[in-house]
């Protein structure tokens, strides 16, 4: 890897200290044992089909003052920030494009992952996520309303504990709405991990890690599926699958995903409505203050007029 002249670099041979701890090397089976306890509960106490969105979902807008619209989503440990900027002319383009474009970029913080330090330069995973995010958002945005312009959507993942693409899509949808970019519907996404017969809804990082790792026995289902939906229109905008599984399995989990995506919608709606109400109240207050000032000014004018008339 060439040396990065634009940053400070550490020594070449540094390795994470976790490599030398006792529980670094564990076999697949050991890890698998750890995921679920006897009562078929997961490590964080959830049931297999229970998403974090029910209890540990936290979202807000207006986090970034410099951006047109922004959103922050927290799914227990997974923390994602997204900001959307004003439309600008598409750079380096000669032809006129009928539809506006979305420029999406997903970036992991260097300290976001447990297993390794993320490089500063974009790696393959970040690029793949950026493309997936763009594909998921494009059908939801009314792109014909801003021809020849592009809207920048930047997602920054502060902490990665699974389902980060789903969180990124949710955050980006919220931020786009916050930036008042016209959209057809609220866009939500959910992901699940499949390990053998078991289906983990809204997986954590450990579960995702295991789902991608292929077990020795061939033919077992394993992988991660992320699906984003516009629930009102009943349309799927993006479907991303990693790993291998049979067709029955995919059709079965699609139903689960659809249901999960729908359950997130009220959460997003709540944040958006709250936002509008807040804006409205603020405006009312400002108007009231302006009226007060005007009244004070008028009273003073009257006073001066009186003094003038009196000579």
């Amino acid at each position: 890897m060439p040396l990065d002249y634009r940053r400070f670099n550490g020594p070449d041979d540094s390795v994470s200290y976790k490599r030398f701890t006792d529980n670094y090397l564990k076999s697949y089976d050991e890890l698998y044992e750890e995921l679920i306890d006897k009562n078929s509960r997961r490590k964080d106490g959830r049931k297999l089909d229970e998403a974090r969105s029910m209890c540990m979902f936290f979202a807000r807008t207006d986090l970034i003052s410099q951006a047109k619209g922004s959103a922050y989503i927290e799914l227990k440990k997974t923390k994602v920030v997204c900001s959307v900027f004003d439309p600008r002319e598409i750079p380096h383009q000669n032809e006129f494009s009928q539809l506006g474009q979305l420029y999406c970029e997903v970036k992991f913080a260097p300290f976001s992952c447990v297993r390794q330090r993320r490089p500063h330069a974009p790696d393959a995973e970040e690029r793949a996520l950026s493309v997936a995010l763009r594909q998921a958002l494009e059908p939801a945005v009314c792109r014909h309303l801003f021809p020849n312009y592009q809207v920048d959507v930047f997602v920054y993942i502060l902490e990665h504990d699974g389902a980060c693409l789903a969180a990124a899509i949710n955050a980006a949808g919220l931020a786009l709405a916050n930036a008042s970019v016209p959209m057809y519907d609220i866009i939500t996404a959910c992901s699940l991990a499949i390990i053998g017969e078991k289906v983990f809804v809204d997986p954590t990082e450990a579960e995702e890690h295991l789902a991608i790792m292929s077990p020795d026995t061939e033919g077992t289902n394993h992988g991660i599926i992320t699906m984003s939906m516009m629930s009102e229109l009943k349309q799927v905008s993006d479907f991303m699958q990693i790993g291998s599984m049979d067709v029955q399995c995919v059709t079965k989990v699609m139903e689960i995903l659809e249901k999960e995506c729908e359950t997130i919608v009220p959460n997003i709606q709540k944040v958006l409505v709250l936002n509008v109400v807040q804006c409205f109240n603020q405006r009312k207050q400002l108007e009231a203050e302006a009226k007060e000032r005007e009244a004070a000014l008028n009273a003073k004018m009257e006073e001066w007029k009186k003094i003038l008339n009196a000579g």
Binding site: Y5, R6, R7, F8
Partner: protein, 220 residues
């Protein structure tokens, strides 16, 4: 056409030697040595630049700093920024809107105080190029040695053992501080004393500028 002038009156500044029009192809160029530290600067401009970096209010200043090794680093960007911001306050950029002025600096020898040598050299090169300027400026480096005394323009071995190194840039009109940057730790009193000492020493550099320019005016 080399000009020599030894400026060491009350303060001990390193002997400065300077030659203007050192490079034949650029609009203005200077080689300056302060003691053993040497730098060459060439100035080109105002010239046409690509429309994305043009500014409608003033000329865009571009500073390129080349080290002896040639490898770029974050520290070089910092030096470029220091020099660019200093030049920007000195140049009357609003006279040349939508143009660019390029300043290229090549380090030749570093025996301490390189950045202040580069700054002074840049100022002379700008004078030589004929770009309109609001004022000239002078950079002075001083060090705080182990016993807490202030040494003006320290030699290299003193820099390595010094507690702190400070560089101040003063302008010629109001004699006020344009740029400053420091290394190491020091107390407020030391800081004020160093400011005053460098302030006084900057006069010597200004008189050196005056001599150089008047001598070259005769030659040309």
């Amino acid at each position: 056409m080399g000009m020599e002038k030894n400026v060491s009156k009350d303060f001990k500044l390193k002997p400065m030697k300077c030659e203007l029009n050192f490079l034949s192809k650029s609009d203005g160029s200077t080689i300056l040595s302060q003691g053993d530290t040497v730098a060459v600067v060439s100035v080109n401009g105002p010239l046409d630049i690509k429309s994305t970096s043009q500014s409608i209010e003033k000329s865009t200043l571009e500073v390129l700093y080349c080290t002896k090794g040639g490898k770029p680093s974050v520290a070089d960007r910092y030096k470029e920024n220091v020099i660019r911001q200093t030049c920007e306050t000195a140049i009357l950029g609003s006279l040349y809107p939508r143009t660019g002025i390029t300043v290229t600096i090549q380090e030749l020898e570093d025996y301490g105080g390189l950045l202040s040598c580069c700054l002074n050299c840049t100022c002379l090169a700008l004078l030589n190029s004929g770009v309109s300027m609001r004022c000239v400026y002078a950079a002075v480096t001083c060090a705080v040695d182990e016993s807490g005394d202030i040494v003006l323009e320290p030699p290299k071995h003193q820099l390595q053992t010094a507690r702190a190194v400070m560089t101040f840039v003063y302008d010629s009109r109001e004699k006020s501080l344009v740029t400053s940057f420091t290394e190491g730790m020091f107390s407020e009193d030391t800081y004020k004393e160093a400011l005053a000492r460098c302030h006084a020493a900057s006069d010597l550099i200004f008189s050196f500028y005056r001599d150089i320019v008047s001598k070259y005016a005769n030659v040309i």
